[in-house]
Point group: C2
Chain length 194, copies 2
């Protein structure tokens, strides 16, 4: 393999979820596109590093400070949704169901990887609690996300803030027969009056 | 989503096999890597467009002309392996079983997409036949690859060249029970004396 191609395959292989075979296929695809298209991809990679940063308020990714959500006066300033990472904001926004603001922890509690509360943006969260009536904990439904939610729930309740957690259960369109028992147990435990 | 991020997601989504969700995940990953790492990826994308081209002999991807395989005197000059695309060469090279040279068609016959023999590098193949004793047809075992192999077999046999085709059958480590009937039929038809 010519050196420049091997270098690109190597760089692409460092991306998450991209193995050497996919990297090779992508590199060969880039060989076939126009020089302009390849340059557009290269420059947009450079541009995000030049122009984007974390919002001073919520830690979301933005090109204006504070970000468009934090500076939107139409948002409900009493509601704060805590997420692990900036890319968790968009799926929640797409539901159209959440009208408050966000706070990104930039990680999750993981003692076995040496990540404790001091490594997360919890100080920033505590500084934003004035006027907040409810904090929705939207960390992932896995061991680390659950542990982080429990930690934050205890911390926030001690400050008399209402704390809620996303509901876990069967996905819409799912099938009881194919739902794993942990999810089904959560789905039962969280059952609601009709 | 800030405009530079949306632009990068858009550019990444144009890559084969990368949907909007994967593109978003990759873009967010690139936000977290160092500026140097992002720049290394961007510059290696630009570098392949600057430095690589098709070998004048075989149409493989190279940074020297002719490519390292075509100019290697240790290669068997009587053997030519015909493949569809430059990236088909490497898997064959990795077997260590083929010691001849390659010819890349840069495509495959696909009448319904308007790709006939004139759109493929068949002229170049015919110009390379002097001294060739065997042409191995290594197009893919799908409808278009098979049609291309049959077309080339007829063309090359009319010039008294020995033409062979890769064997198709059960993959090594496979299981008769889980092999589809078309593959199993090919496997039976291609059975060999022990």
């Amino acid at each position: 393999m010519p050196a420049p191609l091997a270098r690109l395959v190597g760089e692409l292989s460092r991306l998450p979820g991209i193995g050497p075979k996919t990297a090779t296929r992508l590199a060969h695809h880039l060989l076939t596109v126009s020089k302009e298209d390849a340059a557009a991809l290269a420059s947009s990679i450079l541009e995000i590093k030049e122009r984007l940063f974390h919002c001073c308020e919520c830690n979301g990714i933005t090109d204006v400070d504070p970000c468009s959500i934090c500076s939107d006066p139409g948002r409900d300033s009493r509601l704060l949704c805590v997420v692990e990472q900036p890319f968790n904001i968009r799926p929640i926004e797409r539901t159209g169901e959440f009208l408050g603001r966000y706070h990104v922890l930039l990680g999750v509690l993981a003692p076995q990887r040496g990540i404790g509360p001091d490594q997360l943006a919890i100080d920033g969260l505590l500084r934003r609690l004035a006027g907040i009536e409810e904090v929705v904990l939207a960390t992932n439904p896995d061991v680390e996300g659950e542990a982080t939610a429990l930690y934050l729930a205890r911390l926030l309740k001690s400050k008399n803030i209402r704390v809620t957690r996303l509901a876990f259960g069967m996905p819409v369109g799912g099938d009881i027969e194919y739902t794993d028992e942990v999810t089904l147990a959560r789905s039962l435990a969280g059952r609601r009056e009709l």
